[in-house]
Symmetry: C2
Subunit: 406 residues, 2 copies
Amino acid sequence: MNISRKRLLQRLDFLAKIGTTAEAGVRRLALSDADKQGRDLVVKWMTELGLTISIDQIGNIFGVRAGQQDIPPVMTGSHIDTVDNGGNLDGSLGVVAGLEVIETLNENNIVTIRPLVVAVFTNEEGVRFQPDMMGSLVYAGGYDLQQALATTDDRALVLGEELQRIGYAGDMPCGDIVPNAFIELHIEQGPILEQEKITLGVVENLQGISWTEVIVAGQANHAGTTPMHLRRDAGYCAAAITTFVHDLAQEIGRGQVATVGVIELQPNTINVVPSRAHMTIDLRNANNDLLIDAEQRLNSFLIKLAQNNGVDIQSNSLARFDPVGFDKAVVSLIENSAKKLRHSYRRMTSGAGHDAQMMSRVCPTAMIFTPSINGVSHNPAEATHADDVMAGANVLLHSLIALANQ
Amino acid sequence: MNISRKRLLQRLDFLAKIGTTAEAGVRRLALSDADKQGRDLVVKWMTELGLTISIDQIGNIFGVRAGQQDIPPVMTGSHIDTVDNGGNLDGSLGVVAGLEVIETLNENNIVTIRPLVVAVFTNEEGVRFQPDMMGSLVYAGGYDLQQALATTDDRALVLGEELQRIGYAGDMPCGDIVPNAFIELHIEQGPILEQEKITLGVVENLQGISWTEVIVAGQANHAGTTPMHLRRDAGYCAAAITTFVHDLAQEIGRGQVATVGVIELQPNTINVVPSRAHMTIDLRNANNDLLIDAEQRLNSFLIKLAQNNGVDIQSNSLARFDPVGFDKAVVSLIENSAKKLRHSYRRMTSGAGHDAQMMSRVCPTAMIFTPSINGVSHNPAEATHADDVMAGANVLLHSLIALANQ
């Protein structure tokens, strides 16, 4: 039993046409008109497939296919909102593949023991409204519904009112459907599978994230007349922090990554020693002990650096999420499906956040990754080879059937 | 014989009142209305002192006091243009002290063997018109007069027309007066004298400058999903270059300084590995061999860094000036004056550029520095204790007399 390649790719194309940008990317910001059109198309498909549709109070859409028994369902899904100029797979692939699983079962007249649900979560990207992964987070009880509804975008438009406006302010209480298990199919958004020439990733965990903002206050001085030992160089300190976390990540290894994405100097002039530096540090690891170790070693370094350079260093945590370990049984079940379908696969860690991360608070959860060509994501050039898309969708199909017949 | 403390400080105050800013600094950009008023005041003083005034084609002002013989004169002077919100000593001290030398000689009815000249050079700061040190550079034959006159500011106003407008487009050919020696009194604009509790600097040389712009082109990647070994991190490379030149300066020692004043990242976002970095490197040393060594070691590092990190690194020289060695005899003569007047002094290197740097192409030259309180310059807080100002002016007086009677 296989999912129709032609139909799946066609559905992805139809969805990608909603919000197409000049650069052939997709702009379907959460609760925009384009998001409404995308939701309407998905709901139309769900209706055509005979699913029972419900919308919850944060706007998540659920299409339910009845099982042989009225017991907790198996759920799949993802999101259809995008970043400003994103690709056509991030989110959409997981939703479209879920619909294709339903259509394939319909065609083959298979009714699973458990019901099956395809979910479309609200505002995963967090571009227009923060926090990201909002729909699944509220669903999982991790964020207050009223607070989420009161969120405003940068034009002061209120999320709850935008939900009303586009017709997706549902009345089902968030978290009303408690699944027996959840699987999300998603593009990797990273280079690992492509580099290792492996078809699928079986995602066993998700990195913890530690975001820190650092402000170094030194003293502006003439670049010619100030001897090195009399400087309080904020720019040098920012650079030393950057190379420190880079080397630290490589020393810790075991999946540790460290990124300094932002460095801003003042006065930012060729012949003046910088008086001030503003920078950000992004540390991630799937192992919380290693992540804590990295944070502590960074803090010790900042204290020593400030002392040695006569500067003041302030650091503020901007975000801190513990790593998420996915369900071992669901991970094994996905691996078995991939093995049966003879696709190469490897266990891996997700470096990005996903709705599955929130769903894992509610039920046994895991993810399937398809390779990203050139590791590119959040970009019109985002792509997975069609064969790999189909491999992911078929492993999703067989995994959901296996879970739903348990 | 001493210069009048009261009168010298008063003249500095009069000059500082022209172009005073809200922050109690001075804004007297070259060839602005304020510069015209400042020049008019200096010319009035020169006239009152009985000096013969001539203006050359780049607007430099010369006030000549006849000597016993009509032979090449001894010259002193500096500039009266300022940066946007500068202090009241940078430039002005050298001009005002020169006038006070004349007034002191007048009071004491002393006529030196050689004539004495007080010079006011056009556009030393280079804020409004580039290059800086323009008046003395054209005077010394280092820059074409017509090219200098054709320079425009950021409102497309032409330097030559501005000189006409303020009445300082003179007809004396540049370089017409060839001095026998030149001494410039200037504030240090650095922390060394204050740190070492020394009253005066006897400037024996001036650093060479090497300005390089570096552009690192890497690849933007997701900060979570991209393993460290698959990154092409332009931000990390910029940081590594910054720490490299910092450590290099300390390793080379012997006056080597290195400054990274500008770092700009793209996309400059917390969770994206930077794809591009733009930065500047300012290397200075009074010893050209050491400066060349620093440049070569930087270049080798850039090549290795690009190879090791899969990035492209382009570097362009923005400026390169060889160090200037001042005249040993003039330096000794200034030392002897300081010794006689019982002021503490040390030989030192100028880290900033000065008109004396250009004049040293024309005649034996050296400089006298007064301490900068807190090392601050180009800032309303720029200051030298009055006792030290007077020490500098009196050493200038006695040095000029000694030179003019040789």
